[in-house]
């Protein structure tokens, strides 16, 4: 069971800024093997669907998106990831994002004993004040080191 600060559950953390950059979009599109020209155009390149994962570059630690819990990476599984897209995100945009730990709950696992599920949510606003996306993730911490 990870350490949980119940007082932080559901509470939005501090806002961070994320600049959407042409080169970063190119690098990301190449990493996911997507050659679509809309990602490599010089002006206003579109961000690929999973590009918001790059918020990791704008924080000290991705764990800040779920600040209510301290997790052990050796026992951590990524369960689910969800994106809701409300408006396009393009190179040149400046996004403001904030995160909260939506929920933490336990389930009995078949192999790893008790599993703890941590649901995190991040909201992204652009420079015009429009909410452009939500990203939600489910992390699972197993009781023992994860084995296949």
């Amino acid at each position: 069971m990870p350490a949980i600060d119940r007082e932080l559950l559901g509470v939005w953390g501090p806002a961070n800024t994320m600049r959407i950059e042409t080169g970063k979009i190119r690098e990301f599109a190449r990493a996911v093997k997507d050659p679509n020209q809309v990602y490599v155009t010089d002006e206003g390149a579109l961000a690929p669907p999973t590009f918001l994962m790059t918020i990791a570059h704008w924080m000290r630690d991705l764990g800040e998106t779920r600040s209510a819990v301290k997790l052990d990476y050796r026992r951590l599984l990524h369960g689910e990831q969800e994106f809701e897209y409300l408006a396009p995100i393009r190179a040149g945009d400046v996004l403001t994002f904030r995160s909260r730990t939506k929920d933490v709950f336990e389930k009995q696992g078949r192999r790893g004993g008790t599993m703890t599920f941590i649901i995190g949510e991040t909201e992204f606003c652009n420079q015009r004040g429009e909410v452009v996306a939500y990203m939600r993730n489910t992390a699972i911490e197993t009781a023992d080191v994860v084995k296949e």
């Binding site: 970063k24 690098e27 990301f28 190449r30 990493a31 996911v32 093997k33 997507d34 679509n36 809309v38 990602y39 579109l46 690929p48 669907p49 999973t50 994962m53 790059t54 918020i55 990791a56 570059h57 991705l62 990476y73 050796r74 951590l76 599984l77 990524h78 369960g79 689910e80 990831q81 969800e82 994106f83 809701e84 897209y85 396009p88 080191v145 994860v146 084995k147 296949e148």
Partner: protein, 138 residues
């Protein structure tokens, strides 16, 4: 011309052959996800794994490409993935899926779909669902 994005339409597969450790390192750098379990052999083995394994979100990125090749980039409205089994260096990953519904919502025509990524062993690595806007003429 008849509509292409209809209920039951098959999303053409996108195949990644022979996933490499370089692919994993490239994704770590691009995404900023430097969990060492995806690039540090010693760390991965100390955690009980035979070797490093792929980021779930790398496979989810391949699946996203498969979807947007079919529905058009910029048309996704929602995308959700669940991680089932891991993918390993040397694996061949096949992404694909089908459309499950076509309907009107929020002033546009939309489709829902189901997608998967499977390995050459027949294991499902990722399952997902999505909603996309249908482009003009689609």
């Amino acid at each position: 011309m008849s509509e292409r994005l209809v209920e039951g339409a098959v999303i053409p597969p996108f195949v990644v052959e022979n996933l490499s450790r370089t692919d994993l390192v490239r994704y770590a750098g691009a995404s900023g996800d430097f969990n060492p379990i995806h690039h540090d052999e010693h760390f991965a083995q100390a955690a009980g794994n035979p070797t490093v394994f792929g980021h779930g979100m790398l496979t989810a990125g391949f699946v996203a490409r498969c979807i947007t090749d079919f529905v058009g980039a910029g048309n996704l409205r929602r995308y959700k993935v669940r991680f089932a089994t891991r993918v390993w260096p040397g694996d061949t990953i096949t992404c694909g899926g089908r459309l499950t519904r076509r309907y009107e919502e929020a002033g546009e025509t939309r489709v829902d779909g189901e997608v998967t990524a499977t390995t050459q062993r027949g294991e499902t690595a990722v399952t997902g669902t999505f909603t996309a806007a249908v482009p003009a003429g689609g």
